[in-house]
């Protein structure tokens, strides 16, 4: 069993305050440090400033949406390989393809189980968790 350790920062971006708090709570309980953003622009700024270990981005946000933020992260060297999980209420094949084309690592459909999302973050960070 791998215990996530503090020092690993997860960026959570969603314009829905309740989802933001829910995810933050679950991730904090799992031992992660959290940075929250309430828009795509804020998410991009924080990601470039803080270089999180994982970014969880809502697909639909005011300003830059999650897809655009993902593309921007890929374009910038420091965040070009940061694992990205895209969240979305749209579950159509074309959206999944769009998310993957933007460079997201995982694509999670709403409604999701917050515990499942924490498991996904654990999985993405497994190599780093083992080495710490």
């Amino acid at each position: 069993v791998i215990e996530p350790r503090p020092g690993l920062l997860v960026l959570v971006a969603d314009d829905d305050e309740d989802i933001l708090q829910l995810l933050s709570f679950r991730l904090e309980r799992a031992g992660y440090e959290i940075a929250v953003a309430r828009s795509g622009d804020e998410a991009l700024r924080l990601a470039l400033d803080l270089l999180p270990a994982v970014a969880i981005l809502d697909g639909m946000m005011p300003g830059l949406d999650g897809f655009e933020v993902t593309r921007e992260l890929r374009r910038n060297t420091p965040t070009s390989t940061t694992p990205v999980i895209l969240l979305t209420a749209r579950a159509e094949a074309s959206d999944i393809a769009r998310g993957m084309a933007a460079g997201a690592d995982e694509y999670v459909k709403k409604p999701f189980d917050a515990r499942d999302l924490v498991d996904r973050v654990d999985r993405l960070l497994r190599p780093r968790l083992i080495s710490t």
Binding site: D16, D18, I19, L22, F25, R26, R29, A89, R90, A91, E92, A93, I96, K109, K110, P111, F112, D113, A114, R115
Partner: protein
Amino acid sequence: VTAAVEERNRRLIQQAATLEQSLATAQEARSEAEAARRAMVEQNKRLRELDRLKDEFLSLVSHELRTPLTSIRGYLDLVLDEEAGELNPEQRRFLQAVERNSGRLLRLVGDLLFVAQADAGRLSLEQGKVDLFGLAAECVEGAMPAAAEKSIDLVLAATPVPALVGDRGRLAQVFDNLVSNALKFTPEGGTVEVSTKLNGDHVSIEVSDTGIGIPVADQPRLFERFFRSSVANDRAIPGTGLGLAIVKAIVEAHKGQIRIESNEGRGTTFHVDLPLTVEADNFEEAA
């Protein structure tokens, strides 16, 4: 001579008038037909537009319900996981009722979105190896408690079949919907049987029950969405009329066929045939 010419002239004038009249009638008829055709084209366009709007509406509603449902269930799980302190048994029981019902809502939203996508021809299926025998066994195991509650004998009569390529989650839904339907319409003490077998280049699935049956008059419309059989309404058996529409859409998306055999008061059998078009062994798992 003059009289003869005048007579012929008069006849010609008369003939010309008659011709003109029938020409006018024909023209009138043609323009009426043309107007009717235009009206029908227009109506057709409006119906198609209405249909599109309805699908868009369904899809929008389902999407807009998904985000709040994520929060409702997410926070509920937090409380049930006792992240906010210990629960007494009564609090747990009450919250479990909330969870059960939010689960029902979640399935309904999923079903609505599914039929809207299926209707719009935008069904997205995942492709993977699927073991239908295993799915049948899983489904029967999962439905055991519901069967036991009604003292229904739920029997798995399946034989192993070759894996086929399809959407595992959706094919599981076929079994789940057919079996939960069978349990719903079978009185206490009855029997529900689930079977799978290889039938040439097809896998045959059967779900049969000793239930109340489906009246012949209802059978042609059984797979229409939102259709509820008269016996279901008479006996106030709950349901949305989406389950079988979804089953049919999934089966057809896998190039399969579904049919029913039913005797009122004696029972119903659903037959599903799925082609083994691509043997799963020759199928490369998508990376």
